[in-house]
Symmetry: C2
DNA sequence: TAGATTGTTAATCGATTAACAATC
DNA sequence: TAGATTGTTAATCGATTAACAATC
């Protein structure tokens, strides 16, 4: 059970969780690092190292119990506690997130959305009210919010981050296509869709080089 | 000008492009690796190493010309040529992609969407026709397609990938929450939204550990 | 020219892989 | 017990950082 958990390991953890859930759904009870490695395109060594950052969840000569390991990793990922979320921006991306079934299934509960568009304000989306941006401060002072989903234009993102920070929100899932400056005690995880697509474009352009 | 371009560099390239565009829009003409590093949270050394994978785009004693470097990186990313795309799945995510302004602005042109829902089939979205899934094969044999965006449920993803491969499509931008098996000469880049959110959840749960 | 900053080589650091004793 | 596979230490590999000569 090693001490430090590197970024590389954290990036892989949700993949473990996803594969273990698929295996569990397929009725697989037990798996070795060898088999899991073939499935996930990792070496058995790496899998054992990764898992042992958190404890000895396997058994020699046997491997890992699928549902037990999935349970451990789910807990490590913090999925056992519910996360209260608000979504800033009721555009296409904000609405796609609000309606994404796994979002609520995995314990991320949206309690409000915010938008500047007066047409949208006052309506609801999947029972979630869409409130005017002006009410952001009063809302987050009245309700505990774990995560704010930023699904708004680039120009509004940085300012909104500060308003959220001042209101006590300490975690942001950012879809705005920019890197935000943020205080040290605030967590920001980016979903830079265009970055991802450009990586694909790069690989297409350089396919025949290796 | 080093030979091999590592995955780590490829992942950072779109970030360079993004920051350089912001700098260009802000009217900045020139930048040193020192300043760019502060902006992007990278060391000056790393920036110079990264850029020198592709050529000596800077000048000693001066730094880099912002728009020139942006141009080079855009070309390296393959953004100079247009990419013809189809979107499989006209649900919330598929539609969000279709309507995402930067998608077309950066040269990714959607020529068709596909869905199983008879209600949606026959309509258009931003002038793009929504076709029935059964017409996938005939469509891709009649039109050249560079990239297929997979925005459909997990259970349909793997089968659709094979249909696309058989039809000659060799690049996939995958939003389905699963890791797809694919032939070696097919490129797949995943956008695992839940993985990203779970990384945030992990960091929230382990904030006070370091 | 002097000062600044790159391009590039060398040193360091960290992550991945290999090996193997422990043990189920 | 014998066989299999983990947990963990050691070796390797690759990426990041530091250093500095080249040069604008």
């Amino acid at each position: 059970m090693a001490g430090h958990v590197s970024d590389a390991v954290i990036r892989r953890l949700p993949g473990y969780y996803r594969h273990l859930r698929e295996l569990e759904a397929a009725g697989v009870m037990q798996i070795s690092s060898q088999e899991l490695g073939e499935r996930m395109n990792l070496t058995p060594s790496q899998i054992r190292q990764d898992i042992n950052c958190f404890g000895g969840f396997g058994r020699q000569g046997y491997g890992y119990r699928v549902s037990e390991l999935k349970g451990h990793i789910g807990e490590i990922l913090g999925l056992t506690n519910e996360h209260i979320c608000i979504i800033i921006g009721a555009g296409h991306i904000g609405c796609a997130v609000a309606r994404y079934p796994s979002f609520s299934r995995e314990g991320f509960r949206t309690i409000a959305m915010f938008d500047v568009d007066k047409e949208k304000v006052g309506t609801t989306l999947e029972d979630v009210p869409i409130l005017p941006m002006e009410e952001l401060e009063s809302f987050i002072s009245a309700h505990h919010v774990d995560i704010a989903v930023l699904a708004l234009p680039r120009r509004a993102a940085q300012d909104t981050l500060h308003r959220l920070y001042d209101g006590g929100v300490r975690a942001i899932w950012n879809f705005a296509p920019t890197d935000l400056n943020h205080p040290e005690d605030m967590l920001v995880v980016n979903v830079h869709l265009m970055d991802s697509l450009q990586q694909l474009s790069y690989r297409m352009a350089h396919k025949n080089e290796n």
